[in-house]
Every structure is written in structure tokens, then in C-alpha cells.
Amino acid sequence: MGWLTRMAGVLLVVAAAGAADSPRRISYVADQVPARQVIDELSARLNRRLYATWSEDPWLKKPLTLRFDRAFPRDVLAELSRVGERQLQRGDHWSYWLQQGNRGDRRLDERQLGDWLVRLRSVSYTYRADVQPGSAEPPHIERALSVEWLLLPPDDQAILGLVDAQPRPLRYSDGTTVAVGEQQLAMSINEGYLQLTLRLPEPPVGAGLRLAELGLALTTAPITERVVSLDLPAQGATGPMVTAEGWQYTVEHRDRRFVVAARPVDAVDGPRPPDVKRSPIANQLAELLAGRQRCAEARLQGADGTPMLTATSCEPAGGSRSPAAGLRIAAWPHGQEKPPEAARMVLCVVDRGQPAVAEELAWRDLPLPPRTLGDLP
């Protein structure tokens, strides 16, 4: 739970991630409300534009009933998809398309890890055989087994909470084991979530072979959240420097953008941390954090307090990765042809705390997919 302070036009909330009054939680009630109104209202709450693929779609008149009480954006979107029977597809970072049909998010299993969901999506076998016509070389054949997970943080900013992901020794039902060094785990960002793909060497031959044990070690860290409400200056002007809880904020109004310079008051560069050998995925995640792109999200508000759909960019100030340099954050109206004049900005900046210990997740006795055409049902 956080605390509040108001000083010189600044409202500041510092909260642990997921606190009940966080702007990253959604509360909403709709009882038999037309879908068009629901997606407009949820767009405003999520700060993500929800588009129907066709403006005359009769589905937009379908009455929907939804109820959220301080829910995570991830769960709001999933429930809208389920109740609305529409597939949500990400457009850009600030928008989703509601596609016809709901394939349902297929999965072999799903676990909860803190506020995250760890979804085991598939176990796949791939066979690739190449022949070069006219060559005396024998055909080149590759066989591989792969396992895919989707890691779903509660919201886009919380993605910074993942510190590392590592495979664990794997065992087949015939007793064959695959050491960690023989497994290749890769990470990518898929529709705003983290996708992990584990590539394994060809499994041993044998009818009825199963994955006896499959493991994944995930290291997460708590997310801290700093919420600041700032008055906005007029076009071309720069607002006064505002200091709140050890940070200084200055807002500049350039064209349609509001650019915030945020820096810690007393931060000094400490000694450089010792070089630690990290996994490739830990390095990727450290780069994601250092780039600061996901660290801040702003909401512009009209004079009457109405929130506007707002896009935000964030980067280390001056390109420096020193914490003392602070952040350069730009916010601008998104998805509206003639947005109202913005009077205030609510800025939510997150940071990663100290990593917790790795948690190990294990899956047992999973079937393997067919590996020959003859095995297909």
C-alpha cells in the first residue's frame, strides 16, 4: 500500500507493485452494456485503444456484462476476449484489434508465479529434409523438439520484473536425460508478452515416449511504482521544476508533446557493480531494463479531469545509462483526431527492485507429438 503527499501542484504516490490504488489496476462494471460502449470505456481505463475491425459490425450492439475490481490489465483483456467472443490482437503498443472469432488461448498448462502467469503453450516436433537437385550430396535432415511458454506479466510495465529464465535438466520416460548445456532457451516479445522457446536435440526413438520431467527456473524482482500528477505548461513554455520524494520533474510543452525531464535529486553514480556472468536471457532482460522504454507511462487529462488516450516514450536522459542522469519522458495524445487541451499529466514510473530467488516450475509426464507421417492420427 502506498502513501500520498501533495505539494506545489504535485500529487505523488509511491507504491509497491499491484497496490490497490495504482493506476495500473482497473475497476469497471458493465451490466448488459452494448459492446461499442464497453470497448470505448475500457479503452479509456486501459489507456489502450480497442478497435473493432469493422465499424458497422453488428457485434458492437451485443450486450456485454463485465465486472472488474482493481484487476490487472492482462486479466481485463482476457475476460473481454472471453465474454465478447473476440480474439484480441495487438496493433501497436497502444492499441488492440478485436478480431472475429475466438480461438481461445490454447495451452497445455498454466501456472501462477506471483502476479505473472506462466503458460505452457506447446510441445512441438519439427522435421526438415533438404535435397539439392543435381547434387551428389545426401539429403540434409534436421530433427528437433521444442517447448514454448508464454510469460504474461500483469501489465506492460510489469514486464521489467523478470530478471532471468533458465531451463532445468530434462528427463524422458525411458530415463534419458538432457543436461542444461544441451538445451537452448531463447526469448522474444510476442504481442507484449515474453515468449520462451526451448530447443532440444532429437529425442530418443521409442513408441510411447513421454517427457517425464521438464523444468524452468524463473527469477523475478518486485516492481516499485512512483505516480506523480503534474500541471502542464502552455504551448512552447516550460513548467517550474517540481521536487517530490527525491526526484525533480520539469515539463516542457513542444508542439503536441509534453516532455518531462525526471532526475533523482541526490543520486550519484556508485561504484560500478562487479561483472557477473549472466545467462543470455538475463542479459536480454537487463538490456530491456537499461533501455527504460517500458519504465514510464503517462496519462494526459483535460481541464475537467477526463483522461485522454496517451502514448508515452521513455529513454535514459542524454542517452546515459547512469541512474543519476534520470529519464526523458515524452507523452502525447494517441488515437484521437482532435484531442481536447491537456491540463494535467499523471505519470507512472516503475523500477525494478532487488531480485528474489529463482522459483522452479516443473511439468511431469507430458506426451510427445507424433514424429512420423505414419504416427499421425
Partner: protein
């Protein structure tokens, strides 16, 4: 198909590529006399309007002179001759630039055939045949299994020049019979597949399109076919001798106008093209110009050196009776280059009807099934 037979086909293809150098759109290359690699590369670059990077070679190899006797050859044939004569690989690094690598070009085993029915000097190669098999469990239970099996032939079409490469409008899906009914698309044509261009080389096209795996488990396909849909292009050439003139310059021929505008604010030239649409030619024009590369250009210094340049900011439009296009010619950003004074511009405009040619490979080997 035996290796000898395949190689024989490959040779036929190359010979056909070299033989018909006089029937294509695009620049001609003449390389005659005893030339070093650097001299030959420079002459080649000047004639095709591209820069050519030559690597450092040991003295003896750099100074070795080879007798060349190419006259009016296509750029593709000239490139092959450079590779053969000097034992190097000539790669297209970007649209306006080649690079020479000191090792010999690899000989790719492939089924090949000349496409002489289209235009002289075209060749088509089947360089790889792949079977892809994937089975995935996405849910526990009988409905959770997803499978995908496909055959993916890799086909390469090599054309004599960048301009000839522009003639490919589209290709059909590959198929195993010559007479299969094609499903017309909404424009009344076959199901057209846009090919991936092979990197930055507009003269070479690559098709890697999956098709159903034929039943029966045979170790070869009797037939593999696809259709190529081709435009006919006419080259319109314009030369601006003094590109620094402060006023706009207009040149015209019977079919089109070109205006070169000074662009004092930026180190780029602004070019505007316009012309009348032939009757019923709107669709053809859209199809042909909805792609990059309807223009070839050379920026030259006073002494005939090619200056690296690229075309940016292309805008095209067509109204009921007319078409327009505009773009900027931007110089490469190396500061040590001489200032260009001359612009040679060739615009390729479509004409006539779209031609369809069926390409067929026989006795295609298949890899083993999973």
C-alpha cells in the same frame, strides 16, 4: 535426374544467358582488352550505374591482366564473366553497389533451364527442395494436436538486368501438374504470389512457396510447374548534363515528361515524372509502378566517375488519364566524393498485355519423408 544431366542443363542455361545479349531492357556492358580486376570492375560499375568495391589483393593478383572480349553483354552476363575470368565472387551489396570478394563464386548444384521463350538471357533454377513436417501439442486431448506438412521448392529466376527483373509482375503457386485449373483472383488472373526479391538485387528473384506434399511417398516428382506473369517494358532515357542549374529543367519524349528541380536545402535532387496513361493501361501501370525500381539512374562526375546514389521518398499516383511519380535522388554520405554534375535517368514504362509463361521441371528429386 543424374548429376551430369543436371549440370548439362545448368550449362545450357548459362550459354543461353550469354547468347541473347541483344534482346533485353537495361544497360549494355562492354569489357574489351587486357584489364586488371580493378580496371574491369570500374568499367563494369560505370556502365551499369553502380559503385563496385574491390578488396585489397596481393600485388601479383591485383596486377594480373586478363583478356576480356565482352561487347554489349547484359549486366548479369558481364558479372558472370568477371567471376570466371578473375576467380572472384561479385556480390550485390545494395541496390546501387556491388562488392567483389576474392574467393571464387561457389558452384551451386541445381536443376536449371533457360527461359528463352520470355526473353533472351533469362534462366530459372531449382536449387533446393525441402519437406517441412511439424507436429505440435497445443492442448491435452485429441483436439490439441496440430500438424503441418509441406513441400517447399526453392526456385531462382535470374534475369539479364535490373530492368528485366522488373518485368516479373507475379508468379503462381507451384504445382505438380501442367494442366491444373488455376483459381482466378478478383482481377480475373491466377492466384498471384508476390515473390521475395533476392536481397538487394533486382535482377534476381526467389520463390520459396510451400505446396501440399504429393501423396504416395515417391522419391521424385514427375513434374513441378509454375506460371510467371510478365510485363513488357519500354525504356525512356533522359540525360541532364548540368544538374546544378538553379532553375527547374524539363525534358520530354513522346510518352512522358521529366522535371529536375533544384533542391538547395538538401543534398538531394528532386525529380518529377508524368505522362499519359495508355487506354486501359491504368491497372497495368499500377501493377508495374507499385514497386520499387521503375527507374535506373546514374549520377556522374565531370570525368565520368559514378557517384553512389539512392532513390528515396517515392510517391506515385495515377488519375483517369495521367500518371505522376516523384522521388529524390540522394547522394551517398561519404564526404570524400567528387561532386556529381550529370544525371542519366532511364524510366521503364509498361506496355501491351501481361504475358503468362509456364515453367516446368521434370523428374525432381524429393527428400526422404519423416
Amino acid at each position: 535426374m543424374t548429376r551430369a544431366c543436371a549440370l548439362a542443363l545448368l550449362l545450357v542455361g548459362l550459354l543461353a544467358g550469354l547468347a541473347g545479349a541483344d534482346d533485353f531492357v537495361g544497360p549494355r556492358v562492354t569489357l574489351e582488352g587486357e584489364l586488371t580486376l580493378a580496371e574491369a570492375a570500374k568499367a563494369f560499375g560505370r556502365q551499369v550505374g553502380c559503385t563496385v568495391q574491390v578488396p585489397y589483393l596481393e600485388k601479383q593478383r591485383a596486377e594480373r591482366r586478363v583478356a576480356l572480349a565482352l561487347r554489349g553483354a547484359s549486366p548479369t552476363a558481364a558479372r558472370a564473366e568477371l567471376e570466371r575470368a578473375y576467380g572472384v565472387t561479385v556480390r550485390r551489396y545494395w541496390r546501387g553497389g556491388y562488392g567483389i570478394e576474392p574467393q571464387p563464386a561457389p558452384v551451386m548444384p541445381a536443376l536449371g533451364r533457360p527461359l528463352g521463350g520470355l526473353a533472351q538471357g533469362w534462366t530459372c533454377w531449382l536449387s533446393n527442395v525441402r519437406i517441412n513436417f511439424e507436429s505440435a501439442l497445443r492442448e491435452l486431448g485429441p483436439d490439441g494436436l496440430h500438424t503441418d506438412v509441406s513441400l517447399v521448392p526453392r526456385i531462382i529466376i535470374q534475369t539479364p538486368s535490373d530492368a528485366e527483373g522488373l518485368r516479373i509482375l507475379a508468379c503462381s503457386l507451384p504445382r505438380t501438374t501442367a494442366t491444373e485449373e488455376a483459381q482466378p483472383d478478383h482481377r480475373g488472373r491466377d492466384h498471384l504470389i508476390r515473390w521475395n526479391q533476392n536481397g538487394q538485387d533486382p535482377s534476381t528473384w526467389l520463390l520459396e512457396q510451400g505446396m501440399p506434399l504429393p501423396p504416395g511417398g515417391a522419391d521424385q516428382l514427375e513434374r513441378l510447374c509454375f506460371d510467371v506473369h510478365l510485363l513488357r517494358l519500354v525504356a525512356h532515357r533522359f540525360v541532364f548534363d548540368e544538374i546544378d542549374t538553379p532553375a527547374a529543367q524539363l525534358q520530354s519524349d513522346a510518352d512522358m515528361d521529366v522535371t529536375l528541380k533544384p533542391n538547395a536545402d538538401q543534398p538531394a535532387l528532386a525529380v518529377e515524372l508524368s505522362g499519359a496513361l495508355p487506354a486501359g493501361g491504368s491497372e497495368l501501370f499500377q501493377a508495374a509502378t507499385g514497386r520499387e525500381g521503375m527507374v535506373d539512374l546514374r549520377l556522374l562526375t565531370n570525368d565520368g566517375q559514378v557517384v553512389p546514389a539512392s532513390i528515396v521518398g517515392v510517391n506515385r499516383d495515377s488519375k483517369r488519364d495521367t500518371w505522376t511519380a516523384s522521388f529524390q535522388v540522394r547522394r551517398g554520405d561519404r564526404g570524400d566524393q567528387a561532386r556529381p554534375s550529370r544525371l542519366e535517368l532511364t524510366v521503364y514504362l509498361p506496355t501491351g498485355e501481361v504475358e503468362v509463361q509456364t515453367v516446368e521441371f521434370r523428374n525432381v528429386p524429393l527428400p526422404p519423408l519423416p
